[in-house]
């Protein structure tokens, strides 16, 4: 499905009544207050392709120190994200293990019906509909949030169908830890993962990042820490497709791939190249655009989302594009002693498998303006 087809699909009226009329003038005119500073949040990625469960990270802010209290995979809820209003009746409730029982949860959701795209303000305000930045809006059954992309007329739109947001808001029941404080699309959640990166901050927030997610690969350009360009690489796909192709190429099960990709004695380049090269080509185009049109010049690109084989991507990028890729430790500079004590240091070594979960938690803990 092309981007345009997806857009057309999502702009069609869904037909079921809205549970919350976010488009009422009083709501649209007044931005929703941001969350006040949360200090203990568990970020969870729903709908990831990982067979081990939902990646989860419990993040705690103690004064100026970030603490990764728990990492791991939690069993998914006993029910699927609804695909229509009709399916909303079967509302499961979800309990997280005690290690992840923070007061609040930030959910990063992979949904077939999600909308995450760079678009224009004009397209969203067609027909004179008011648009609120930084707070939920509603259009044709879709609940979405928009954020400015720099000084341009482009905006970043992230949204889910109304019925899915409702379902997610009730997934974690009241009176038990955690309850949902934040619901984002997974691609929106990943944008916050660079906020604590020293290299990102050293460059004053001027950076480019390549996010390889389960379903797609995204390029995000940052200026002064804020996204100014958001692109989904067309036709490239994401980790699911890549790992499937790698497994076929190597002739092995997917669960063995991480070991193989990290094995220094094995050269997976012939098998990896057909998968990585299209990504690199798109990367080159995106970097050009970022530099020429938006004036952001970067000397490295953050490679996010790969739990293994990053050194191959780095080499291929240098060889092909002379572009330096860096795959930072997601939890760089954070206190992970609690995870090590729990015996999860192996999970910590592949920190990018928790990218969405971490990004969701980090975004939810952002201090309100």
């Amino acid at each position: 499905m092309t981007f345009q087809e997806l857009k057309d699909l999502l702009t069609k009226p869904i037909g079921a009544p809205k549970a919350v009329d976010v488009s009422s003038s009083s709501v649209a005119a007044t931005p929703q207050p941001r969350n006040r500073a949360l200090t203990d949040v568990v970020g969870v990625e729903l709908g990831s392709a990982d067979s081990r469960g939902c990646p989860a990270v419990r993040l705690v802010k103690k004064r100026d120190q970030w603490v990764v209290k728990s990492v791991g995979f939690v069993p998914p809820p006993n029910g699927n994200l609804p695909a229509s209003w009709k399916e909303l009746g079967n509302q499961p409730t979800w309990s997280l293990p005690s290690d992840f029982a923070a007061p609040y949860a930030a959910l990063a959701v992979n949904s077939a019906e999600q909308v995450v795209r760079q678009t224009t303000k004009e397209s969203l305000t067609e027909g004179g509909k008011p648009l609120v930045f930084g707070a939920p809006n509603s259009r044709d059954g879709l609940r979405f949030v928009v954020e400015n992309l720099g000084e341009s007329s482009f905006v970043l739109e992230s949204g889910l169908p109304e019925f899915q947001v409702l379902w997610l808001s009730r997934l974690l029941p009241e009176g038990r830890r955690p309850t949902a404080a934040s619901v984002q699309t997974a691609p929106a959640a990943m944008l916050a993962t660079l906020a604590e990166q020293s290299q990102f901050n050293a460059a004053d927030g001027n950076a480019a990042a390549l996010f390889v997610t389960g379903a797609s690969t995204y390029f995000v350009g940052y200026r002064s820490g804020k996204p100014v360009l958001f692109r989904e690489f067309p036709g490239v796909g994401g980790l699911v497709k890549m790992r499937a192709a790698l497994a076929t190429g190597f002739g092995m099960e997917e669960k063995m791939l991480d070991e193989v990709l990290d094995d220094t004695l094995i050269d997976p380049t012939p098998i990896l190249s057909p998968i990585v090269n299209p990504v690199l080509r798109q990367l080159e185009l995106s970097l050009d655009y970022l530099k020429s049109r938006l004036g952001v010049s970067v000397d490295k690109v953050f490679l996010m989302g790969l739990s293994s084989g990053t050194r191959h991507w780095i080499k291929m990028s240098e060889d092909m594009l002379n572009v330096k890729l860096v795959a930072p430790d997601l939890f760089e500079g954070m206190d992970v002693s609690s995870c090590i004590a729990s015996g999860n240091d192996a999970l910590l070594r592949r920190s990018h498998q928790f990218m969405m979960a971490y990004g969701a938690a980090r975004a939810a803990m952002e201090v309100a303006e």
């Binding site: 509302q91 499961p92 409730t93 009730r170 029941p173 009241e174």
Partner: protein, 192 residues
Amino acid sequence: MKQRNPMILLPLFGAAALGVYFALVQPCSDQLGKDRKALDSLRSETAKRKIAIQSRSSIEDRMKQIEAELRQFSELQLEPLLESYAMRAKSIVGAFATEAGLVDAEFSDRPVRALPVLPGRPVPAALHARRPIMVSCYGDYAAIVSFILRVERDLPHVTLGGLRIQPGGGQNPMLQRAEIILEWPAKGAEKK
């Protein structure tokens, strides 16, 4: 699992609590109050009865004592002589008058006087009274006084209820006329 709003239980429980209070607790409490009052009343009644029954023997003893004293008193009472109290009095003190030197002693009845019966107190089983008898006589002052002293000594239950001594008139200036009223205890009127 579907989540229900627990607030729905608030009016249910609240209404049920009110219902239980007004339909069950309050009537029960009222009844208990009545029972308690009845109980207190019965307890005091049984205690009172117990005391009354236990004190029977002491009351009987006291009754005997009273009756003995009343018998003694009744012996002092003036009884009529052939339906005449004056004649009875004459039979008792006539000789005293003569021996004292009083002459022409005449005994007559005076209106009987009831003894006090105070309100708010038990009414006596039998009423008692004062039976005054007037002794009109002549004699000198010493004789009169001597007679009165004799009566007071020999009949201590008889008391002087009135007296009038004045000159007797006639040729003997020493002779006084005396109207001496002597009071005896007597039976009172029959209670109606």
